[in-house]
């Protein structure tokens, strides 16, 4: 794979090239406890089935069940909390992938980590295991907000984690931030972004707190607790984006900001409707026009893999018009926009498209669609999904 160091994060050429990259996702479900807002496939200590090593072995077996492919350009090890594994356990998984598919020359291997799990020793261990990019779940630097999000780390641990990672020699460091939690003022959010930027991350993901169905947060809101407020979220998004911009981090997707050369290849692949393999609990993959997903229960996952079966829960073939619509609805999230193609042309020709262009939300530059107000992206997505061939 060629190096894209020279491209701006929001370059159209970069965004479109990602369609041809090959990526893989590995899910590590273990967490010390479940955060109230989280709906990922998570296994807490009391739900655990066997030691971590059993899960790692299952991952290795599952990797062996995937048909051969080309070398991987990007690997994303997400969670859950991958930093709950020992570095040598993660090394087994990365080695299994290297053996079965190989890695391309400038490959990216990201892991998610929680700040409280991180020190110089683990950093070196994960680096040695083959990880070259780390993403920290920082969320906030405000103690009240961290408490309201049910997090186990404090601001100092987050700052230390980033410094340690940089010193250890990771190519790229990301921090995840969440805005809109109960008790977070605009001033608190500004301070969080300032402190985050002061650690000089290569990449920042900035998410509005989302009330996902089935979470403790959703139950609390259902029982009358305050839900995140639309205007507050919009204010914070605008403030955060502006601060990123001043710090030289370029917005290249609705919620993602990077310095030049530091965009995440794994995510870029997904947004370009490219292909990625998926291993582990609840993992989703996309290969040869089929989107497949794994089972979400740990015992089911282990039973299936250990008896030699793929732990698949379901699969959908996305072809024809449905694929074309999906291409636009995914691509439109990027600052670089998306080639209009047949769905985009139809959108522009219809009343919905004209209304969106008229309202200054959507633009059409020589056949490339861009969303000018990222906070209103879903207005465009729904219009795209309403199209019929």
């Amino acid at each position: 794979m060629e190096s894209f160091e020279l491209h701006a994060p929001d370059s159209a050429a970069l965004a479109d090239a990602a369609r041809h990259w090959r990526a893989a996702y590995v899910h590590i479900p273990f967490c010390a406890r479940r955060c109230p807002y989280c709906d990922f496939a998570v296994v807490t200590p009391d739900e655990q089935v066997g030691p971590h090593r059993r899960y790692v072995d299952a991952l290795v077996s599952e990797i062996g069940m995937e048909p051969h492919w080309q070398p991987l350009d990007a690997l994303f090890i997400g969670g859950g909390t991958p930093s709950q594994l020992e570095p040598d356990q993660l090394a087994l998984v990365i080695a299994a992938l290297a053996e079965r598919f190989g890695f391309a020359a400038h490959h990216e291997v990201t892991m998610e980590a929680n700040p409280e799990d991180w020190d110089a020793e683990t950093a070196d261990g994960f680096l040695a295991a083959g990880v070259n990019r780390v993403s920290f779940g920082v969320q906030s630097f405000d103690a009240t907000v961290l408490a309201s999000l049910g997090r186990l780390h404090n601001a100092e641990q987050a700052v230390d984690a980033v410094h340690v990672a940089k010193a250890a020699g990771f190519d790229s460091v990301n921090i995840d931030l969440i805005y809109g939690a109960v008790g977070e003022t605009v001033a608190s959010w500004r301070a969080t972004v300032e402190r985050g930027l002061a650690t000089e991350p290569d990449h920042v993901s900035m998410y509005s707190l989302t009330v996902e169905p089935g979470t403790a947060l959703s139950r609390a809101v259902g029982a009358g607790a305050p839900a995140p407020d639309e205007d507050d979220l919009a204010d914070k998004y605008e403030l955060g984006s502006e601060m990123m911009d001043r710090a030289g981090l370029v917005r290249y997707e609705v919620s993602n900001f990077a310095r030049p050369g530091a965009t995440v290849r794994y995510n870029m692949t997904a947004w370009a409707q490219g292909e990625y393999l998926a291993f582990g609990l609840g993992a989703h993959g996309h290969r040869e026009q089929v989107r497949r997903r794994n089972v979400r229960r740990l015992s089911a996952y282990l039973d299936m893999v250990e008896s030699g079966n793929r732990p698949q829960a379901g699969a959908d073939r996305i072809g024809g018009w449905s694929r074309e619509v999906e291409r636009v609805f995914l691509g439109i999230r990027r600052a670089a926009g998306v080639e209009a193609g047949s769905a985009g042309a139809q959108l522009l020709a219809g009343a919905d498209g004209q209304r969106l262009v008229g309202a200054g939300i959507l633009s059409d530059d020589w056949g490339r669609l861009r969303v000018l107000r990222p906070l209103l992206t879903d207005e465009v997505s729904r219009a795209v999904l309403s199209l019929s061939p």
């Binding site: 990526a23 996702y25 994303f76 997400g78 998410y207 509005s208 989302t210 639309e230 205007d231 979220l233 919009a234 998004y237 609705v254 919620s255 794994y266 995510n267 692949t269 997904a270 947004w271 990625y276 998926a278 609840g282 993992a283 989703h284 993959g285 996309h286 989107r291 997903r293 959908d316 999906e326 609805f329 995914l330 999230r333 209304r355 309202a359 939300i361 990222p374 906070l375 209103l376 992206t377 879903d378 207005e379 997505s381 729904r382 999904l385 309403s386």
Partner: protein, 599 residues
């Protein structure tokens, strides 16, 4: 045919949930009208909605055979509806009976509507058997309830029969009492035929089926019959009993209850309350009929999709075949396009009709704020009927506007008298008599504007008295009132579907409440949407739905593409249930917002 001496015709008068349907089931079971195997719980409630909501909408009849001291008797049970909205149907049923079972829950005591119906039965000369139900309940206090009943209706406590419709205890005693205590019919066996139509329904295969009670003479299959009110002559193609399955017989004789099928396909031609006689040498005098059911509230029904107008018309036509109380006429609205102004017996009736239209006929509907029927007297003395704010004549031409009043009877535990009075006063009510039924229970009488009670009065009464108070009402007179039309403007455009007629003293509060309610109900759009209330062109309230600022899923990674797509598809489907009013997308719930305004 059955000898009159061996016939008993009766209804069950009961408050909702006091166990009428369950008792009917038990009677059917015990008399073998249905075998256990066929026994579907609550057999008489046949419509789906009726089963779901647990209320009885249409009166139905069933013939039960019961052996008493070696003689088989035919007991005709004529079911009556249990909700205030449908009380007009009760009087029809009572007119077909000689007796009534007054059923009261042993843990609740007598309720307003039951009492109103019991008085009605007494006025009609019916013999009443008081029955206390649910004696199996731990909270049952049958002695107290028996005293309450005899205190109101007279008689001795020993005459009150105690049963459990659930366990079947005491039902045999009740059956015996029906035979022993209710009078047999005493019609003229050789007189000219006179039969009372007390209900009718439309059957797709058979056309209109009439339920009737033969008062005098007899009705044979093949007779030429004459409907006295509609002056219709038809052949009796089939007559029979309802057991509850239809059982054709050659003759319905004096005193019997059954059904009649003629060639009639149009339900409007068979009027409930009409008298059926023979075409040749028929009766001269019709039986005292009853009033037509009179709609109490009117509301506009509009298809969300304008193309569905004809389908809505067909659906209403079909519904009406089974529900003569439903009236409608085409209406057009600037905001909503073409639809129908429909008259209903009450809000529950309105909800049921709307639900049936949406469910059984697959229509998506918008219902506008309900309105009662006002009268405007214009210069020159002419009277204009106003069923919708749009019908109001020009204020400059209007001499006065009158609104309908009702007489309301409320029964409540005495501790809530103050609360009830407060509620009634806030609804412009006038206090009438107050009678203590027992030291703990009070019967209160009021006069109130109908418009004040049709919306949420009943719900408020219930919630303020923890569910203990009950009510019944009947039309009173029309009175002049200081009424104004409150217009609602959306994005500068007056939306006819939102305008409403209210008392002037209430206009400010109403306008303000409506505007703030709409502000909550109308989702943020791509631009600011002002919402205003106006009386006669003067703005009395204003709020703004601020332009939408954020509408995006924060996180969309490889793992959630299918899920996010589904979420977006779902949001999209939600949008389809919106109605475009000018440039503004308005959810359907907004159109009934007025219903829930709690000033």
């Amino acid at each position: 045919m059955t000898d009159q001496a061996r016939i008993r015709n009766f209804s069950i008068i009961a408050h909702i949930d006091h166990g009428k349907s369950t008792l009917a089931d038990r009677l059917l079971e015990l008399t073998g009208a249905v075998t256990q195997r066929e026994m579907r719980s609550q057999l008489l409630d046949s419509m789906d909605i009726e089963r779901e909501r647990g209320i009885t909408i249409k009166a139905q009849a069933v013939r039960l055979m019961h052996e008493h001291k070696g003689v088989v008797h035919a007991l005709n049970l004529i079911d009556t509806p249990g909700h205030v909205d449908f009380s007009y149907e009760v009087s029809r049923s009572l007119a077909s009976c000689e007796g009534a079972v007054l059923l009261v829950d042993a843990s609740q005591g007598i309720e307003a509507q039951t009492l109103a119906n019991a008085y009605l039965a007494v006025e009609n000369g019916l013999e009443i058997i008081p029955v206390i139900n649910k004696i199996d309940l731990p909270a049952a206090d049958p002695d107290k309830v028996a005293q309450e009943i005899t205190g109101i209706l007279g008689g001795s406590v020993d005459e009150v029969i105690r049963v459990s419709a659930k366990t079947g205890e005491g039902i045999d005693l009740l059956l015996d009492a029906i035979v022993e205590r209710l009078p047999a019919p005493e019609g003229l066996e050789h007189g000219p035929l006179r039969a009372l139509v007390f209900d009718s329904y439309y059957d797709t295969y058979r056309g209109v089926v009439s339920y009737l009670r033969v008062i005098d003479g007899h009705l044979d299959k093949g007779d030429q019959v004459h409907f006295m009110a509609t002056k219709l002559d038809e052949g009796a193609d089939e007559v029979g009993y309802l057991t509850p399955a239809v059982e054709p017989v050659p003759r319905l004789s004096t005193g019997e209850v059954g059904y009649l099928i003629t060639g009639v396909k149009d339900i409007d031609l068979i009027r409930v309350g009409d008298t059926v006689t023979s075409s040749a040498d028929g009766a001269v005098d019709a039986l005292p009929g009853y009033q037509e059911p009179k709609p109490m509230v009117y509301s506009g029904l509009f298809p969300t999709d304008g193309d569905d107008f004809e389908r809505l018309r067909d659906a209403l036509d079909k519904l009406r075949l089974n529900d003569a109380s439903l009236v409608f006429q085409p209406e057009s609205s600037r905001a909503l396009g073409f639809g129908f102004r429909c008259g209903f017996l009450g809000l529950l009736h309105m909800e049921i009709v709307r639900e049936r239209l949406e469910r059984e006929y697959d229509l998506d509907l918008v219902a506008t704020a309900p309105s009662v029927e006002y009268r405007a007297i214009v210069q020159g003395g002419e009277e204009v009927t106003v069923r919708s704010p749009q019908d109001l004549p020009d204020p400059g031409q209007t001499v006065r506007i009158e609104e309908p009043y009702v007489k309301v009877m409320i029964i409540t535990p005495s501790e809530y008298v103050g609360t009830v009075m407060e509620l009634v006063q806030s609804k412009r009510g006038e206090m009438g008599e107050m009678t203590y039924l027992t030291p703990e229970r009070v019967e209160l009488h009021y006069r109130l504007p109908l418009s004040e009670i049709v919306f949420d009065f009943f719900d408020q009464l219930k919630s303020r008295t923890k569910g203990y108070a009950s009510m019944d009402y009947e039309p009173d007179n029309y009175r002049a009132s200081n009424l104004v039309k409150v217009d609602i403007l959306l994005n500068g455009l007056s939306v006819d579907a939102f305008s409403s007629i209210v008392h002037r003293d209430r206009s400010y509060g109403y306008g303000k409440a409506m505007v703030s309610r709409l502000r909550e109900l109308i989702p943020r759009q791509l631009f600011d949407v002002p919402i205003q209330a106006a009386v006669g062109g003067r703005i009395i309230s204003r709020e703004t739905v601020k332009a939408k600022r954020k509408d995006v899923i924060a996180k969309c990674y490889g793992g959630d593409i299918s899920r996010k797509r589904k979420l977006l598809e779902k949001q999209k489907a939600g949008k389809r249930r919106m109605k475009m009013v000018g440039q503004v997308e308005v959810p359907q719930e907004a159109f009934v917002a007025a219903l829930r305004i709690d000033e």
